[in-house]
């Protein structure tokens, strides 16, 4: 499904089902390989994307994921933005705590994903949806 895509441009994927989470993983993997991330770094960023795409689906009620190859002048990387217009997160500090969950999971999605990437930014407010940006640089 990812063959023939232009990897220099942002790629978008709607997240509305379980299968879309799988598609996000595959898209992130393809772009991470093109950005020359090491195997361990590919694995980390794909895992982080899987956690965050699932959050977009389960907590945000679905949304979109945008995957973009980036370059900071010294090294290439991959930037992924997860956006939903769900209920937002009221207590961000609590949500980023290991083991805290409102959804019956392990509570490692947000906090674990943050540990797996180089840059992590989250914008959210109650009723305003959630927008998470992560970046992983190649070493």
């Amino acid at each position: 499904m990812t063959s023939g895509i232009d990897l220099s441009r942002p790629q978008q994927q709607t997240v509305g089902s379980d299968e879309d989470v799988v598609r996000v993983r595959q898209l992130v993997r393809t772009v991470a390989v093109a950005a020359k991330l090491s195997l361990v770094d590919q694995t980390k960023v794909v895992t982080a994307a899987s956690e965050l795409a699932r959050n977009t689906l389960v907590y945000g009620g679905g949304g979109t994921v945008e995957v973009t190859p980036v370059d900071n002048g010294r090294r290439p990387g991959i930037r992924i933005v997860f956006a939903d217009s769900g209920p937002g997160i009221a207590d961000l500090e609590l949500a980023l705590t290991d083991g805290y969950t409102t959804g019956g999971g392990l509570g490692l999605g947000l906090s674990g994903a943050r540990r797996l990437v180089d840059e992590f930014d989250i914008q959210t407010a109650p009723g305003q949806g959630t927008r998470i940006t992560i970046i992983k640089w190649s070493r």
């Binding site: 989470v21 590919q42 694995t43 899987s50 999605g109 540990r115 797996l116």
Partner: protein, 137 residues
């Protein structure tokens, strides 16, 4: 939805996950395995994740749940074939896979299950205090 096949080899159920599982597929595998353990009376489950290029918290939880369910149904679960990059990522993610036995490959997993069976039969219900009157003077 795709389903992961479950193979029976002697006293062991072997599951080799070859697809990028959706969450639904993972949950279905959990249920299918529980049914097969009861239907076959197998005492060991080997889950081969050689082909999995990631294990996220959902799949990690599924593996823990399968291990717990099979234990309750008198079967031992061993997860085999984890890739090094997956192990590194799992630890950093914060997943410890508590209660899951692991082995490097299917062969070692089978040895572990065989060894575990021989051992377990001495320690469990057969020799509780009330069944061993000879132990008291």
């Amino acid at each position: 939805m795709e389903r992961v096949p479950i193979l029976k080899i002697g006293d062991i159920l072997l599951v080799s996950i070859q697809v990028d599982m959706s969450d639904q597929t993972a949950v279905a595998l959990q249920e299918d395995l529980a049914e097969r353990i009861v239907a076959t009376g197998c005492h060991g489950v080997i889950i081969d994740i050689t082909a999995l290029d990631i294990v996220d918290s959902f799949v990690g939880r599924m593996l823990s749940t399968i291990a717990s369910i099979s234990r309750v149904l008198d079967a031992e679960t061993v997860v085999v074939g984890m890739r090094p990059a997956v192990a590194i990522t799992l630890v950093e993610l914060g997943l410890s896979l508590n209660g899951i036995r692991t082995a490097l490959n299917v062969e070692r997993g089978m040895e572990l299950i065989a060894a575990g069976r021989g051992h377990d039969e001495d320690d469990w219900f057969d020799d509780g205090p009330d069944t061993e009157p000879t132990a008291s003077p």
